[in-house]
Amino acid sequence: MTGPILEVRHLSKSFGANVVLRDIDFTVRPGDVTTIIGPSGSGKSTLLRCINLLETPTSGEVVFHGDNVAARGVNPTVYRSKVGMVFQSFNLFNNMTVLDNCTVGQRKVLKREAEAARQNAMQYLEQVGMAPYINARPRQLSGGQKQRVAIARALAMDPEVLLFDEPTSALDPEMVGEVLTVMQDLARRGMTMLVVTHEMAFAREVSNHVVFMADGVIAEEGAPAQLFDAPQNPRTREFLSRFRGA
């Protein structure tokens, strides 16, 4: 058995007097698809941003292959290049074409040759069904197309784990399916993923570990079948009933 890729230990985050995350602990092993669910404002996105060090944790550790990357004086760029991130608002580079979006990181950060970067990017753009659009600019694409390019951009860095921050929340309903399909496909290929989402169907069908967060703490976690069918915590039951009742 291989060791965990990522461990979050006693992580807390506060903005001024406002405590957003309290003593969060969990582990991501290779091949895991972990979903983080919970009501708005429970700290899910902040947790993901702390893991990628876009926010600096107030205390606690983010351990990547045994090294605490949240420690003072650690340069986060190498770590970040190994941990992909897909944002709710896509954050594609507006000044570049689809292809350049997927190659710029490989060339500048990983120092790959232009041709190698292009081939690698094409492979992933093919995988997400965006290969015909390599000459388009982000403003010319629909939301679902942008998010698929964003996933290809993250994949092109050959990351060890992919973080998704509500990847379908900014999409029109008819575009949610195309993005979830791409993500399901990734999970099937063995990609290690950590997904903050409101898509309960995805959490249940695709992930093998579900974390339920409420008020900045992990209220309950476990296998999807257990958490969805036999939730122990009353908060979990209340939260899930809103999705069932519909």
Partner: protein, 284 residues
């Protein structure tokens, strides 16, 4: 009407006699204005980037101190050069250097005047551009920076590859403003003996007293330069925006893939036509 005809003939006589002088003035004005705008933009971009290097309380003290110091210095530079007349700055630098070095170092001869003029106009433009660039950088969606950081880019890479190209596009109108201001305001460099378009007017009328016809030539000359500059800048902005359309790339030119991409989610819980999750035992 007679007056207009007289003005026309006066201008024609002036032009016939002095056109090389006027044209030399135009040439020098344009070289100085364009070179100073380019150098000023570089200074502005440098200051803008230095000014926006992020630091947090977690950073080590020397780094925070250095970045704070840089911001104070840039701020001081901007305030001093934005807050004093360019004509005065020219005199200040041109006479200040030999004063402090007892004449050992001075702006000597024609080339000295060129260097001093270029220095003053560039530094001035840089002071204005520093603020424009800062505004341009602030105006870019923070998501762009986060997207770049998330794939492991450092501050310089993020700036050069992602933020500055977008900021440059946004501040093109400002750069255009500065170029046009420089075309006109380089005329104050006559104070240290720089021979530009307006200085030539002073030279020419000093001999023949034809103030108004010469001023008319100058008006037309300056307007021609600034209108051309405006036109070229608009054209450059259009070029930067790129094509409004894009080509689909596909192996088989006969298949149209736009809108016909077959999503492999039919029949799965993520089928876009049945969004509600029904746990596999649903009724739709």
């Amino acid at each position: 009407m007679d007056k207009l005809i007289q003005l026309g003939s006066d201008m024609a006589r002036l032009w016939a006699a002095h056109s090389p002088k006027y044209l030399l003035g135009v040439r020098n004005t344009l070289i100085l204005a364009i070179a100073a705008t380019v150098i000023g933009c570089l200074i502005g971009f440098l200051c803008g980037v230095l000014n926006t290097i992020p630091y947090t309380r977690q950073d080590p003290l020397p780094k925070r101190f250095a970045l704070k110091l840089v911001r104070v210095l840039v701020r001081a530079y901007v305030e001093v050069f934005r807050g004093t007349p360019m004509m005065l700055q020219a005199v200040f630098i041109y006479y200040g250097l030999p004063y402090f070095t007892d004449g050992a170092v001075a702006f000597k001869g024609i080339s000295g005047i060129w260097v001093a003029s270029l220095l003053v106009v560039s530094i001035n433009t840089g002071a204005y551009m520093a603020e424009s660039v800062r505004g341009g950088i602030i105006s870019i969606d923070p998501g762009q920076t986060e997207g770049a950081k998330a794939i492991g880019m450092n501050h310089v890479q993020t700036m050069t590859a992602v933020i500055l190209p977008q900021a440059l596009r946004n501040i093109m109108p400002q750069i255009g403003n500065n170029l046009i201001i420089n075309i006109k305001d380089t005329s104050v460099m006559f104070i240290i003996g720089f021979i530009e378009f307006f200085a030539q007017h002073r030279n020419i009328v000093g001999v023949n007293n034809m103030f108004f016809p010469s001023a008319s030539i100058e008006m037309i000359g300056y307007l021609t330069m600034t209108l051309t500059a405006s036109f070229l800048l608009r054209w450059a902005e259009k070029r930067m925006d790129g094509d409004a359309n894009f080509e689909l790339v596909q192996e088989d030119a006969l298949t149209l893939s736009a809108g016909t991409y077959s999503h492999p989610d039919r029949g799965t819980p993520f089928d876009e036509h049945s969004r509600e999750y029904t746990g596999g035992k649903g009724d739709n």
